[in-house]
């Protein structure tokens, strides 16, 4: 009985929570993108809520059922991970398969009635260990306070380890880029010298034969 009671409560807390989250304004149909650079196998939870500007009251309507948000998530190789139209309020979660920069874009589905008006978007993005809902974990696994704390510590250490191995991967890429620049500069300068020398030689020969043909020398 108690368990049944608590589940919707947790959700309720989540939604009420979102009202105090960070927000920004966008125009109708405007595209807003955020970048999350994450290691692989990391969960990202995005919470959002959209409010429509109400010109009559000069404020923002708390709930606007007519508004939908198009959410698109792309992985570092520009493949679409997730692309859907959600309602004015929602929670999206995805887990990264490849490490790197994930782009999250949001834009409202433009309906002609609302066009040109302003939207207020409440947004909360939680990555990795922050995305874990420990209240849920404690209930599901019946953990004591200390066990829960240790669980959190473990999650943090896992995140740090993942981040570090990703760091190594990126350092490798960085080094490869630098080495590529280095070798390009080297080879190109050699090639340029060769091209200059051969062109100079060709110019000389060509002009010499030209002058001889014209009987100038």
């Amino acid at each position: 009985m108690k368990l049944i009671n608590v589940c919707p409560l947790v959700i309720l807390v989540f939604i009420l929570d979102l009202v105090s989250a960070l927000y920004f304004h966008i125009a109708e149909g405007e595209r807003k993108c955020f970048i999350e650079e994450i290691p692989d196998d990391t969960t990202v939870i995005v919470n959002y809520k959209v409010e429509l500007f109400d010109p009559r009251s000069g404020g923002f309507m708390p709930s606007s059922p007519g508004i939908g948000m198009h959410v698109e998530v792309r992985d570092p190789n520009d493949r679409v991970v997730l692309s859907r139209v959600y309602s004015s309020e929602g929670m999206i979660s995805f887990t990264s398969a490849t490490p790197g920069e994930h782009t999250l874009c949001m834009y409202s589905n433009s309906t002609s009635w609302f066009s040109g008006s302003q939207l207020r978007v409440h947004l909360d993005i939680q990555v990795g260990e922050h995305a874990v809902d420990y209240a849920n974990v404690a209930q599901k696994d019946k953990l004591s306070e200390l066990q829960l704390r240790i669980r959190q510590l473990l999650d943090q250490v896992h995140q740090i380890t993942k981040e570090q191995s990703y760091q190594r991967h990126r350092e490798e890429r960085f080094r490869m880029t630098s080495e590529s620049t280095n070798s390009r500069v080297l080879w190109w300068s050699l090639l340029q010298s060769a091209v200059l020398l051969s062109i100079g030689y060709w110019q000389m020969r060509h002009l010499k034969s030209f002058f001889e043909a014209k009987k100038l020398v």
Binding site: N5, V6, L9, V13, L16, D17, S20, A21, L22, Y23, F24, H25, K32, C33, F34, I35, E36, E37, L123, D124, I125, E129, H130, Y134, A135, A138, S144, E145, L146, L148, R149, I150, Q152, L153, Q156, V157, Q159, I160, E163, Q164, Q167, R170, E171, R173, F174, T177, S178, T181, R184, W188, L191, Q192, V195, I199, Q203, L207, F210, F211, K214, L216
Partner: protein
């Protein structure tokens, strides 16, 4: 029966409303534009703003934090990165603006982290009145140490991203410039010969008329 969970919800909501709000965002700032974020903060809550420019131009941006009565809490121009802790004096909406208005062509990538209030405690912890055991205290300490590690890691990650992006850009520029210069050398070589031949040719041309 029904009142207790409802009361609990209200309590939790109130507490979590006051307690921790932390959000990290990386976003693109186009040239000549201003990007603002808003956050409601309760009176006498401590908050901190951290930001860093990842790419673009001279890696600088104008940052402004404004309180509910338009009072300016923080205003710095052409900053590369900084962190600024402050305590909210009034309850209300605080505004954080990133401006790229001084730059006419370079768009920028900016990382921002806004922390409001102390960290949300784990459920259950903090409710019991007894003194913490040594194990619990150590666990708490490890937790905060790990949090610091994660913060530092983020900073290094952004630094690395900065360097890597610059290197990639340099690599690309070297490639295009060398291609362009090779073509230029070959064109100039042929042109020189043509012009020189023109000087000595019998046919009247543009050059020996001069």
């Amino acid at each position: 029966m029904f009142i207790t969970p409802l009361f609990f919800t209200i309590l939790v909501t109130l507490i979590s409303g006051i307690l921790s709000k932390s959000v990290e965002l990386t976003f693109e700032l186009p040239d000549n534009s201003v990007e603002c974020f808003y956050q409601e903060i309760e009176q006498s809550t401590s908050a901190s703003l951290e930001y860093q420019v990842i790419t673009g131009g001279q890696y600088d941006v104008d940052v402004k934090v404004e309180g509910p009565n338009q009072q300016i809490i923080y205003h710095k121009k052409k900053m590369q990165y900084d962190s600024h802790p402050f305590t909210a004096q009034y309850t209300g909406v605080y505004k954080v603006c990133f401006s790229n208005e001084f730059s006419t062509f370079s768009h920028k990538l900016i990382y921002m982290e806004l922390n409001v209030g102390p960290e949300q405690p784990l459920p259950g912890i903090g409710e019991h009145a007894t003194v913490l055991t040594q194990l619990e205290t150590s666990a708490d300490e490890i937790h905060s140490a790990l949090n610091r590690i994660i913060d530092h890691q983020t900073h290094h990650r952004l630094r690395e991203a900065q360097g890597r992006k610059a290197a990639e850009y340099l690599n690309e520029r070297v490639f295009w410039w060398s291609t362009f210069e090779t073509i230029a050398i070959i064109c100039v070589a042929f042109l020189q010969v043509l012009v020189l031949k023109n000087f000595f040719s019998d046919r009247p041309s543009l050059y020996n008329k001069m």
